[in-house]
């Protein structure tokens, strides 16, 4: 008995030795800061002077903060634009690439290029392509479509910033979601399509009655992932709309930028954490929806 116990203990120790290298790093650099983040939202602190308890005042202040509201609004608009467009684009691409076409592998690889390419590099190309006065896009609008010079779109300022961000994001991430859809499509039994063909169904009917319903759980997953990733948008806004020192104006600010700005520029750590809690809540709600959905679909 005593020997058995020690063998079990030995096994535990071996198991822990496997986990320890990762878990220690994970606990110190992820778990502890997460706990810290929740607490910090209820305090006022600038990082060097003594910390003071603030109760709910940080959250109360948020409700009257114009910049916060703009950041929240822009993030949500970005999300509403990006999620459906990326979903449709990646589904369409997946359906096309699921056909027997020549060079399928090459097309698949190409559509992944934007996803792996660094943001700094590809956004700088976009800023050239969409350059308001010199870029080829506006050049085409001017010479081919005869849009008057003064009405040419200013892609990276004012109301159009969000449109540019959405277009860019669809371009950059559709390849990734395409792969997820492709896996979903390959899971649909070919017999379903054969039966439909015998019944004389056309392409659109096959999509409507077979493909789309069969992909429900994939679509659900894609939409959840897309939404969460949109909530976290930051780099795209900074790269496309950020000024010389990387600052965002009220028309292009997003939640994560506001967290960053409040913490690392204004050093209002408590307030910044309160904004972070809003981001957390948004992601949390979507994750909960995902858990419930997963149960339903599987």
């Amino acid at each position: 008995m005593a020997k058995g116990l020690s063998r079990q203990k030995k096994r535990d120790l071996v198991a822990y030795s496997f986990i320890a290298p990762n878990f220690i790093g994970f606990a110190v650099f992820t778990l502890v800061p997460i706990v810290f983040a929740f607490a910090l939202a209820f305090f006022n602190w600038d990082g060097s002077n003594p910390i003071t308890f603030a109760g709910l005042s940080n959250f109360k202040q948020l409700t009257g903060d114009v910049f916060f509201k703009a950041a929240l609004k822009n993030t949500i608009i970005y999300c509403i634009g990006t999620v459906p467009l990326t979903m449709i684009a990646s589904l369409a691409l997946a359906i096309v690439l699921n056909q027997k076409v020549v060079g399928r592998g090459i097309f698949r690889t190409l559509s992944f290029f934007p996803y792996v390419a660094s943001l700094v590099a590809v956004t700088s190309v976009w800023k050239m392509l969409f350059h308001p006065s010199k870029g080829p896009i506006n050049n085409i609008l001017y010479t081919v479509f005869h849009v008057p010079m003064e009405q040419l779109p200013q892609w990276f300022t004012g109301g159009l910033v969000l449109v540019s961000m959405i277009l860019f994001s669809v371009w950059k991430y559709m390849g990734y979601y395409m792969v997820i859809y492709l896996a979903g499509l390959q899971g649909i039994s070919a017999e379903l399509y054969e039966a439909a063909s015998l019944d004389g169904a056309n392409t659109w009917q096959k999509f409507q009655y077979i493909t789309w319903p069969q992909l429900r759980s994939t679509t659900f997953f894609v939409v959840v992932m897309l939404t969460i990733n949109c909530f976290k948008v930051y780099d795209i806004a900074i790269m496309l709309a950020g000024g010389g020192s990387g600052e965002l104006t009220i028309s292009s600010t997003v939640l994560v930028y506001y967290i960053y700005q409040k913490a690392f520029i204004d050093w209002k750590l408590g307030y910044s954490s309160a904004v972070a809690m809003v981001l957390f809540l948004m992601v949390f709600v979507v994750t909960m929806i995902q858990f419930r959905g997963q149960k339903k679909y599987q």
Binding site: G25, F29, T30, F112, V116, A121, V125
Partner: protein
Amino acid sequence: MKSARKKAIAGKVLVYVILIIIAALMIIPFIWMLSASIKSDREVFQMNPFVLIPENPKWSNYHDIWTKIPMLKFVENTVFLTIVVTFLQLLTSSFAAYSFAKLEFKHKNTLFFAYIATIAMPWQVYMVPQFIMMRKFGLNDKLLAIICLQAFSAFGVFMMKQFYEDIPDELCEAARIDGMSEYRIYASIMLPLSKPALSTLTIFTFVNTWNDYLGPLIYLKSEAKKTIQLGLKMFISQYSSDYGLIMAGSVLSLIPVLAVFLCLQKYFVEGVASTGLKG
């Protein structure tokens, strides 16, 4: 019957037209980037006629970018970070995942719950307290900070565990009966079998670390510590109209990720698809 065949051909044509349009949209920015990287600033925006390769290609852009900014230092820092982070991530998460997937031990579920509970937690939510903590540890403006931040993700453990669970337990059991230690089983049976998962995790980690912007922006302040992304961004804000040089720098920053991706992509598509559907 004839009209059906016509329809089928029309369908095929449509598929190719869509494909070519999408492929063009995907690839044009990259072609533009390559083309602009060997042009002078005057030629970059020249549209009528648009030339892909200028008469006198300005190869010097690829030379000048190394002297205009400390590009070599940036590349060194990024390569160092990416290799160390990717190595640590692969090693520690496959290690932990083996234990979670194949061993029985006390508090297993509690420990794994810690990973599960935080996998959906955006880093942006706790990046501020994390910075404060790292600063206390004296890691501000140190490359080590980025390593600590990137190398121990819940995602890696989760992904590897999913993969290991699909490997039959009998393999491990048989090895145990043969007297192999758990470490030997991990090293000589599990690791060689998990190439697809390791490749996928390599691409994810490599691409994430190489392309990360916000992490380095928060931690790496002095120029000698900057990564290629920060350095390029800095260059762009300083010399916003040196388009040829900006593009040459961008092309250089893309080469390593594209190379890694092309080498491992065979597994990647498979990996994304499976982690995507399960995770």
